[in-house]
Amino acid sequence: MNGALVESREWLVAQRWLLPVLILIGFGLAFAIPEYGWFNKYVQLVMMYVGINVILAVSLNLVNGYMGEFSLAHAGFMAVGAYTSALLTMKVLPVLDYPALFPIAILAGGAMAALFGLIVAVPSFKTRGDYLALITLAFLMIVKSLIENIDYIGGPRGIPGIRKLTTLPWVFFWVVVTIWVIRNFVYSKYGRGVLSVREDEIASDLMSVNTRRVKFLAFAVSSFFAGIAGGLFAHLLQFISPRVFDIIKTTDILIMVYLGGIASIGGSILGATVYTVLLELLRPSTVAAMLSWLPDVVFEPLNEHFIQHLGIWRMVIMPLALVLVMIFWPRGMMGLREFRWFIPKRDLEAHHRGAEHEGRHDVPHGQ
């Protein structure tokens, strides 16, 4: 890169006022796209999935990246949020008459998921690493089999006929809220406490960090947003069943987090977007549509022998790509790094500010 380019990039990064402007533009687009049909329904659907996956990845990163645990429970929290909000909009809240009640149902799903998150946090006081991973797995499986065994909520058949209340503006709104709240958390004393627990729990405790409280908070915030995502997901898919929230769902979110990079909000946004979009791009219909400009002589055999089989093979290519990423790029796209716009100004300045306080020269230079 030449100097001018670096300079203009630096200049751009320094224009922090652009972030709120971009968010406003994003909101405008979120309303305009469905209103004026700027993209077809399928692309709009993919956009909403990207948003929901961003919420899932950013919130899982709090526990798996910042805190350094390996939670497999995220799909379980998602299920709790999905079932809670779906039952509310179907049986309790008159959302048809009062659409403003929809966010309340979503919030309730998040709150319920956060409650479950507090339960999972308790074993994390004493257990770490692989064993905690197992506890979270057990939690996921227990949630799933509990749902399967409760007839009132559909048992293994699930709940069909949920109203389609999730819209692009709502998804965008919740994405912004998630990122903002988690970013605030990460750059607070609690967030630094979470980081110090990852680094060295005993030293953290001895530096006055209330490690239990910090773990409680990390799990609660993380599962809260998993519940939010679950609620949005339920009201988009319009059908939920225990099978939707199994270990494969958790694995998907894990891949997004680690592809994007741990302990990075920006990384999770990228990871979720890239993974979701790539999976969609590899669909036979998408690839065929993208390559349809090729002459028939080339396109027809390509379509017949390659593109039509992508349906299964993309599921083979994705995990292979993940393994390759891990081997050659183990930190993911931006592990431990962050979009500068997300870092509070005072943090940036405190880390880089020059010798504003002159060093005191009466200090013995020893050791």
Binding site: N64, F70, P123, K126, T127, D130, Y131, A133, L134, I135, L137, A138, F139, M141, I142, K144, S145, L146, E148, N149, G155, P156, I202, I247, T251, L254, I255, Y258, I262, H309, I312, W313, M315, V316, M318, P319, L320, L322, V323, M326, I327, P330
Partner: protein, 298 residues
């Protein structure tokens, strides 16, 4: 009185079934626990190696027309090679990377194996009966020759492994590496070779488990390894992961619990009870039955 003796017969029958299921879990659990012992890594792809084993057995039986013993040996050889290949290609480059990279890679390898198999075999396959299955009736308890073979073959393999780990130089090298990863390589122990052998043995046992599972429950599909793999993994943890005898004990406990739950409760409760048991055990005794707690030094 008849109800009581009927009850006892039913119970014994279920215990026999539990022994069969536990044997299969144990063979898979050994692979988890050996790899964990030597690399402190959870090889999440192991359950899928078991699944591939069942498919190898299917191939050997249907396309090569092999009888039981050669099919079993070929399957074990095939999965052993697969295990070594996975280790060399996917895990070895990550041996010094953050632990979580290795876990994610293992998850990726597992999904790859599942979907690759699915791409090649889109529909569930049916493994032909490789053995003449005779069923005996012992005072109301039915015992099939297949069950006898599964149980005794598994036990035989386990004793062989236990002997190898505790009595041979390779086993000693394995135990040494799991004890200390910094200095043992300096003592002239060929670490890479020992790790490969560990993977080969673990995967070979999973292949044997796949064969036997395929004979006992002949319809196989690419996702069969997920749940069985998790169950085997739970067995390893229940016994104390890294501990070979613990894995066997854990497997028989889990097999027993599952069969008993299925016998007395609606079958949908099986996973619920299995995982609740795991949760309860982890909270009461986080290092498993035979495991020992690790003390962190300040």
């Amino acid at each position: 009185m008849t109800t009581l003796s009927e009850g006892i017969v039913y119970l014994l029958q279920q215990m026999l079934n539990a022994l069969q299921l536990g044997s299969i879990y144990a063979l898979i659990a050994l692979g988890y626990t050996m790899v964990y012992g030597i690399l402190t890594m959870i090889n999440f792809a192991h359950g899928d190696v078991f699944m591939v084993g069942a498919f190898f057995c299917f191939l050997a039986a249907v396309y090569l027309g092999l009888p039981f013993v050669p099919a079993l040996l070929l399957t074990m050889l095939g999965t052993a090679l697969l295990g070594v290949a996975i280790e060399r290609l996917a895990y070895k480059p990550l041996r010094h990377a953050p632990r979580v990279s290795a876990i994610i890679t293992a998850l990726g390898v597992g999904i790859f194996l599942e979907n690759f198999t699915l791409a090649l075999a889109p529909y569930p396959k049916h493994i032909p009966m490789l053995l003449e299955n005779v069923t005996w009736n012992l005072g109301g308890i039915s015992l099939s020759s297949l069950q006898v073979i599964i149980i005794f073959l598994s036990l035989g393999l386990m004793f062989l492994l236990d002997f190898m780990v505790h009595r041979t130089p390779v086993g000693m090298a394995m135990r040494a590496i799991s004890w200390d990863k910094t200095f043992v390589p300096l003592m002239g122990v060929p670490v890479d070779l020992v790790i490969s052998i560990t993977f080969a043995i673990g995967a070979g046992l999973a292949g044997a488990a796949g064969t036997m599972y395929g004979l006992a429950y002949p319809v196989i599909d690419p996702y069969m390894g997920i749940m069985v793999g998790w169950k085997a993994f739970i067995s390893a943890v229940v016994g104390g992961i890294g501990n070979i005898r613990g894995a066997m004990i854990g497997a028989f406990i889990l097999g027993g619990v599952e069969i008993m739950v299925a016998a007395f409760l609606p079958s949908t409760y099986r996973d619920f009870v299995a995982f609740t048991l795991l949760l309860a055990l982890l909270i009461v005794r986080p290092y498993g039955i035979l495991g020992s707690p690790r003390v962190q030094k300040v």
